[in-house]
C-alpha cells in the first residue's frame, strides 16, 4: 500500500547532519525509508550519525564546509553524480551569534548570511537542475522563530533567518514550475549543542525564564524532524512557500 507519509526510496540530502537537528532528521528519515546523504564538516560525527541511522537503506556521508561558497555547487554536482536523483533536501547547517548590535562586525553579518542562507541557495541551484532532480522533489530549510520575532542581541542571526523565510516565498514560485515544493521550518528553542553553548552566556535565572516562556517547555530535535518528514513526503504535495513555526506555543502569546 502507498503510504504518503513515508519517505520510502527517496534520496534525501541533509546538511548539518553531524549534530543537533540535522542529525536527528537524518536518523528519522532513514527509519522512514529514505536513503540519506549526510553533509557536514566533522567526519567523525558524520560517521556517528551514520551508525545511528537505519541499516536497511543507503547512508553515505560527505565532508563539506560552507566557508568557501564558490566551490559549493561543483562539490554538490559531484555528490549528485554519485547518488542519483535528489528527492529531498533538508538544510539544517547553521551558526548562531548572540551579540549586541554595537559589537557586530561586517564579517559577522556576512558569515551568518553565507553559512545560514546562501549555502542553501547554492545547493538548490544544483539539485533542482533537470539532470539531478528527483520526481516530486521537496526542500525544507531550517530557519528560526527569530525570522518572525525579536530577541535581544540576535540582529545578525535574525537577518540571516529572515532571509531564508522570505526567499522561500519567491523561490517557491520558480520551483513550482519544476514540480518542486520548498518550505521553511522555524523552531523555537531546542537544547542542541548550539543552544547549550548560547545559553552559557545567560544566568541560571535567565535560563529558567527562557524555558518558562515556552508554553510547552523547550523542544526536542524530533519535534522538528517529524514535521520535516511530513514536508518531504508525498503527503505535503500542495504546501509550498511557507514558514512553518514549531515553537511549543511561544508565538501564540
Amino acid at each position: 500500500m502507498h503510504s504518503p507519509f513515508k519517505l520510502i526510496n527517496k534520496n534525501i540530502l541533509v546538511t548539518g547532519a553531524s549534530s543537533g537537528i540535522g542529525r536527528q532528521c537524518a536518523i528519522d528519515f532513514s527509519f522512514n525509508g529514505a536513503n540519506v546523504f549526510l553533509l557536514g564538516r566533522n567526519v567523525e560525527e558524520l560517521k556517528r550519525t551514520k551508525e545511528l541511522c537505519a541499516q536497511d537503506v543507503t547512508i553515505k556521508y560527505f565532508s563539506i564546509d560552507f566557508s568557501d561558497l564558490g566551490l559549493l555547487s561543483n562539490e554538490i554536482a559531484s555528490i549528485c553524480d554519485e547518488i542519483g536523483p535528489v528527492h529531498g533536501f533538508l538544510h539544517a547547517a547553521g551558526i548562531e551569534k548572540s551579540l549586541p548590535y554595537q559589537h557586530l562586525k561586517i564579517d559577522d553579518y556576512q558569515c551568518l548570511y553565507d553559512v545560514n542562507f546562501v549555502s542553501a541557495m547554492e545547493i538548490i541551484k544544483t539539485i533542482s537542475n533537470k539532470q539531478y532532480r528527483g520526481d516530486k522533489a521537496k526542500y525544507v530549510l531550517v530557519s528560526s522563530i527569530a525570522s518572525v520575532i525579536g530577541r535581544l542581541s540576535l540582529t545578525a542571526y535574525a537577518a540571516s533567518k529572515g532571509a531564508m523565510a522570505s526567499a522561500v516565498k519567491s523561490l517557491s514560485l520558480e520551483l513550482a514550475k519544476k514540480g518542486i515544493c520548498i518550505n521553511c521550518i522555524s523552531p523555537g528553542t531546542i537544547l542542541t549543542p548550539m543552544m547549550i553553548k548560547m545559553m552559557d552566556a545567560l544566568t541560571e535565572e535567565q535560563r529558567t525564564a527562557r524555558k518558562e516562556s515556552f508554553p510547552l517547555g523547550f523542544g526536542e530535535p524530533s519535534d522538528i524532524s517529524y514535521a520535516a518528514i511530513f514536508l518531504l513526503s508525498d503527503a505535503a504535495r500542495w504546501i509550498t512557500g511557507q514558514n512553518i513555526i514549531i515553537d511549543g506555543g511561544y508565538t501564540a502569546q
Binding site: 551579540l99 554595537q102 559589537h103 535581544l152 552566556a201 545567560l202
Partner: protein
C-alpha cells in the same frame, strides 16, 4: 591586564551612566542602567578585548568590577 583600562572598557558598555560612577569597587548590578543586554555587551567586550570567554554566571557571581576583572585575569593566564 590593567584594572583602570578594564573599568574604562566596562564603562563604555553603558550609555547614560556617567563615567565617574565607575571605579573598581563599583557594585555594578546596582546601577540603574544595568540590564541583561548590558551583561551581554560586557561578555562581548571581554571576548573582543581580552580574548577570554566568560559565562553569564561569572557576571552574576561578581559583585564589583574588580571581581570580574579578577575572573578575566585568572582565565587569561591559563
Amino acid at each position: 591586564m590593567e584594572i583602570n583600562e578594564f573599568v574604562k572598557n566596562f564603562a563604555n558598555q553603558f550609555d547614560e551612566t556617567d563615567a565617574s560612577e565607575f571605579t573598581p569597587a563599583t557594585d555594578f548590578r546596582q546601577l540603574d542602567e544595568w540590564s541583561s543586554l548590558i551583561a551581554l555587551s560586557v561578555i562581548a567586550m571581554i571576548d573582543e578585548e581580552y580574548d577570554v570567554v566568560i559565562k553569564g554566571d561569572d557576571v552574576k557571581s561578581s559583585k564589583t568590577i574588580q571581581d570580574l576583572f579578577e575572573i578575566v585575569k585568572s582565565r587569561k593566564k591559563s
